[in-house]
Amino acid sequence: MSPSSLHLAVALDGTGWHPASWREPVARPHELLTAGYWADLVTEAEHGLLDFVTIEDGLGPQSSHPFDPDERTDQVRGRLDAVLIASRIAPLTRHIGLVPTAVVTHTEPFHLSKAIATLDYVSTGRAGVRVQITARPNEAAHFGRRTIPPIEDYDGPVVTDLFDEAADHVEAVRRLWDSWEDDAEIRDAATGRFVDRDKLHYIDFEGKHFSVKGPSITPRPPQGQPLVTALGHQSVPYRLIARQADVGYVTPHDTDQARAIVAEIRAEQETAGRAGEPLHIFGDLVVFLDDDPAEAAARRDRLDALAGERYRSDARVFTGTPAQLADLLGEFQAAGLTGFRLRPAVLGHDLPAITRGLVPELQRRGAFRTAYEADTLRGLLGLARPANRYSAASA
């Protein structure tokens, strides 16, 4: 595969990213809570040789409002835990990466660490996680352990603190993954020892919001470190991506923006002392794909009419043909993005359009793999299996 090859992920959420997507005939809105629905989506993505799927999640009902519930009844509401969906699908697939969303603001790093490590075991090395913060007061009230002040400013102290906490969370999770050395299980019948306790490590994480002792109860997972990913739109989340992520998702609307965002993250990466480490920067795009560009635009208009308002997104909304999208991805790639996370507007329509339209188009251009070339998600992304920080320290 050529080094210029791009990476492709697809973001799964409900029936798709357009709020009226559930009303399309292909949408299967009655099946959203079944394993079969998710198995079909992930299998389709795997047929398209995609690097991975992400699965959205949240600790409260979906809402069209950024910080409060909206009490709407005309959109998909209710969902299943994304880590469990990913795990339920893992034994049914063989190559594709599985990257569920986890909200780190109200959850335990210890639990998340062993959950993603276990996902890595059940998928034999295909696990990742997309870490997300929540500043929603209603979600805080579901836990009752803290209140979150109203957000005035996305680069202000409340948001900064939530992202700093998220960085601590990921640090604790990563240390827990390393808390067992790879060869800690020795089964030494002569001495009767199952493990070599010198290869099990207390992580002794101490942060502003919590501390974690360790070691994990789960041995180091197949990838050593499963993939950590995060979405960012501003400097504060870019810093989280630069400090702790393997893949960052960003939302440029044109190539100049893409270039600027990549430069900012690379600078943050250097500040964080990770300049030499590989960090993928993926562009997020909402996509309406049809063979005729007018058809794609008309489909968007039709769904907007059903929704009663123009669909807007943090990410660029693309309507057009697979060939036009391949052109755009090429331009963005030239601006420094290393891959893309496509958000299908209607999963039942736009996911197969990606796997059966876009992928062959990219393959014709020599820009995308024609077979899975690695057994692990890190391998697909060209990321090495990291050395264990504790064995490195003791060596």
Partner: protein, 458 residues
């Protein structure tokens, strides 16, 4: 007219972190690779077992300030592994132990409701409590819970999750593509809970699952634990797999049900049980003897004695006599993160009793530990084991058993192939699953039907 035969319930306990798994045997496999879990679950399903059971522990055990290294160490995340097992089985119930101390109701309710959806109604929750600051060091909430509050938190935790499960009726999702109405009720999932341990409100975001609520198991043997189970659990994971102790426990717990308005058949008593199965009874006795010696090495015997003595006994010879010094009765215990330690409530009396036993039988330290603990509950040929299990169940020592093999992951294979067919021939164990959900296998009503029954009665 004779009493109709009770139907036996059987479950499979994946042999995880414990001191009974023989990890050194040539046939012993991985305790963490998914293929081991898949093999074990498929065997249990082939045998038409009710469910698979997973234990949990949220901190690695320590002894004398060091991580305990003689037993199997390492296990997966409960929810994640059960969700994956739902993909390789169709009917088997999936029971996970989840701690009510170091979790939050909203999160646990989401996970169980999700597991119930993703398994088509096969999830069950073994509610356990923890109060120790030792485990708390791994968690954000940290610290501990005073011992007398652990059941009050557990009770409120369970009640709160049930409020969350019940916050959806089950008919709210209309998803009418023509009219554009997805939800019938904008308030679906609304809940308010103000209590001593939890003060929460909002909207639960997982719609009602196939079983309505997961099946609830409870483990624990204290007065409070028995009462907690009688008041609301569907099944008890007990430790009394002998005839007399089992009958006493069974009678005691079942008699507590009436005051909560519950019938005898609304709470199943399922002890954990181990077995040694061979072609003949004599061979099984020999196998049991060998397994017990494999389970208790000299080093393990000394560590086991330390639970009672609460002192470093590493200088003693495991093949020699018991220590003549007395146990240290201070609270600063040498062993951490291990439930057995609490079984020895009077260490001085236990030490005295063990010294007398050892002297009378000329037992070494290792002989003593082998002979006082870990004895297989059922030993014999397939015919003997099938007959004994059935006798125990018909005599109300239990409603069935949760079997814990000593080998991972193949330790259940022979039981499935040899014992189960005999129970089926006797007409006391199913030959086909009773229905799609775990409630069907356990003969438990759907909670919505129970609610209807209670409404009709009132």
């Amino acid at each position: 007219m004779s009493k109709p035969l009770k139907q036996i319930h059987l479950a499979a306990h994946f042999p995880g972190v414990n001191n009974t798994t023989v990890w050194s045997a040539p046939e012993a496999g991985s305790h963490i690779e998914f293929s081991s879990f898949a093999h074990f679950a498929r065997t249990a399903e082939r045998a038409k077992f009710d469910f698979l059971f997973l234990a949990e522990g949220l901190r690695l055990r320590e002894q004398g300030g060091k991580i305990y290294d003689l037993d199997v160490v390492g296990r997966p995340d409960t929810f994640t592994i059960l969700a994956a097992l739902a993909a390789v089985t169709e009917h088997l119930g999936l029971t996970g132990t989840i701690n009510s101390t170091f979790n939050e109701p909203y999160e646990v309710a989401r996970q169980f409701a999700s597991l119930d959806h993703l398994s088509g109604g096969r999830s069950a929750w073994n509610v356990v409590t923890s109060w120790d600051a030792f485990t708390g060091e791994n968690f954000r909430r940290g610290g501990f819970l005073p011992q007398d509050e652990r059941y009050s938190r557990a009770k409120e935790f369970l009640a709160t999750t049930q409020e969350l499960f019940d916050s959806w009726q089950g008919d709210e999702i209309l998803a009418d593509q023509a009219s554009g109405v997805f939800l019938r009720d904008a308030k679906a999932g609304s809940f308010v809970h103000h209590g001593q341990h939890f003060d929460i409100q909002g909207q639960f975001n997982v719609p009602r699952s196939p079983q309505g609520r997961p099946v609830v198991f409870q483990a624990g043997d204290s007065e409070e634990g028995r009462e907690f189970a009688a008041s609301g659990a569907d099944a008890i994971f007990s430790r009394y797999a002998t005839l007399n102790e089992g009958q006493a426990f069974y009678t005691d717990v079942k008699n507590r049900l009436a005051k909560y308005g519950r019938r005898h058949d609304q709470l199943l008593i399922l002890p954990a049980a181990s077995f040694a199965l061979a072609d003949t009874d004599a061979e099984a006795e020999e196998l049991a003897r060998i397994v017990r010696r494999q389970q208790v090495s000299g080093a393990t015997a000394l560590k086991h004695l330390e639970f009672v003595w609460n002192r470093d006994l590493s200088s003693y010879d495991p093949e020699g006599p018991l220590p003549d010094i007395d146990p240290d009765v201070s609270d600063n215990h040498i062993s951490k993160g291990r439930a057995q330690v609490r079984m020895y409530r009077d260490p001085l009396a236990t030490a005295r009793e063990w010294r007398e036993l050892a002297a009378a039988n000329k037992w070494s330290i290792r002989d003593l530990v082998i002979n006082t603990g870990n004895r297989q509950n059922f030993i014999g040929s397939a015919g003997t084991i099938a007959r004994t299990i059935n006798e125990y169940v018909q005599a109300d020592a239990s409603d069935g058993f949760i079997l814990v093999p000593h080998i991972t992951p193949t330790g259940l294979d022979d039981f499935a192939d040899k014992v189960v067919p005999l129970l089926q021939e006797q007409g006391v164990f199913r030959t086909e699953y009773e229905g799609p959900t775990l409630r069907h296998q356990l003969g438990l009503a759907h909670p919505d039907d129970v609610r209807g029954e209670q409404r009709a009665a009132s």
